[in-house]
């Protein structure tokens, strides 16, 4: 798949960077960083309304322009919780897009494959555009694709770890087999990680902590925008093969004094 744009379900996006809205200092910084990232899709969480102050301004009131909202199911540990969260999200935000997360372990935040697949099947049947956060395992990615997910979103390293692309070979296998976009979700630490994933052929990257947790989130958001674009361009151009020995760049004929 070498489309110019990122295609998710029936929608097309020119930016291949999806950003989260968590962990920023304040709403103002959130807005500036998102703008600098050039992202068109942003993730949001769903939480209980504060009944003591139900109408105070929230994230969506502070965002200057209109983004495609991607509600997540962060914090859900069962398919049942995740499905209810997605149904609430559809009602609250008038969208069928969902970032499906079903966590299996609190320490690693790795997904629970069984619950994830179960939730994905239910949600696809109900007409959701399901984007599942999953382990970087070709087998579960294939099952999620067969279940009708609009993309697969393997982690590159644990959420918020910044460890980078820990297993590029698994990503390569997933990319080779996938008929839906492959979006790296979680693990990116800095711009070169994002470029590397895109150079492998990933169709997009979803990140939050790498931007929000950096020293200057607005600057890092810009760096990530450029890194994702650069990586994608390099992938489309096709890199040179790696060789052990040198190949001269200047002509070997007409050398002076020979």
């Amino acid at each position: 798949m070498r489309n110019k744009n990122l295609i998710l379900g029936s929608r097309e996006f020119s930016s291949r960077l999806i950003v989260g809205t968590g962990k920023y200092r304040d709403y103002d910084q959130t807005r500036q960083a998102i703008e600098a990232s050039g992202a068109e899709i942003i993730t949001v969480a769903l939480r209980r309304l504060n009944l003591d102050n139900p109408n105070d301004k929230g994230l969506l009131d502070y965002l200057g322009k209109t983004y495609t909202l991607l509600p997540n199911t962060a914090g859900c540990y069962t398919a049942k919780e995740a499905v209810l969260t997605c149904r609430l999200a559809r009602e609250a935000l008038d969208t069928t897009f969902v970032k499906l997360e079903v966590i299996g372990d609190q320490k690693t935040l790795f997904p629970d494959n069984e619950q994830l697949l179960d939730a994905a099947r239910t949600l696809v049947k109900e007409g959701f555009t399901v984007l599942p956060y999953c382990i970087d395992d070709p087998v579960i990615c294939k099952k999620l694709e067969d279940a009708g997910c609009a993309a697969v979103m393997p982690l590159a390293a644990p959420i918020g770890s910044g460890l980078g692309i820990r297993n590029p070979y698994n990503l390569m296998m997933i990319l080779e087999q996938s008929r839906v976009p492959v979006i790296v979700d979680a693990g990116v630490g800095t711009a070169s990680d994002a470029s590397f994933a895109m150079e492998l052929g990933c169709h997009g990257i979803l990140m939050n902590t790498a931007i929000a947790g950096s020293g200057d989130p607005v600057k890092m958001a810009h760096a990530m925008k450029l890194a994702v674009e650069a990586g994608r361009l390099a992938f489309e151009a096709g890199r040179i093969p790696k060789k052990l020995y040198a190949t001269a760049s200047s002509p070997v004929e007409g050398l002076i004094g020979r």
Binding site: G22, A45, L46, R48, P54, G58, P71, L84
Partner: protein
């Protein structure tokens, strides 16, 4: 009537519709929010009809920051 709203017990003098409950809690239902009663989502167009009764568990949610 006793109901659990967002995990906390609330007491009201009578049963009511979702619309009436939101009014009682002074919640602006035109903003991005959603309601579930006993794990079933109540569509907005049902707010005037859907009744909340004794012992119900009500969830009222909105979008917030997240990754």
């Amino acid at each position: 009537m006793n109901v659990i709203i967002n995990g906390e017990r609330h007491e009201f003098r009578r049963s009511m519709t979702v619309r009436e409950l939101l009014g009682e809690l002074k919640i602006d239902s035109s903003r991005g929010m959603a309601v579930a009663i006993n794990d079933s989502v109540v569509p907005k167009q049902e707010f005037d009809r859907a009744a909340i009764t004794e012992g119900d568990r009500v969830e009222i949610i909105r979008a917030t920051q997240g990754g």
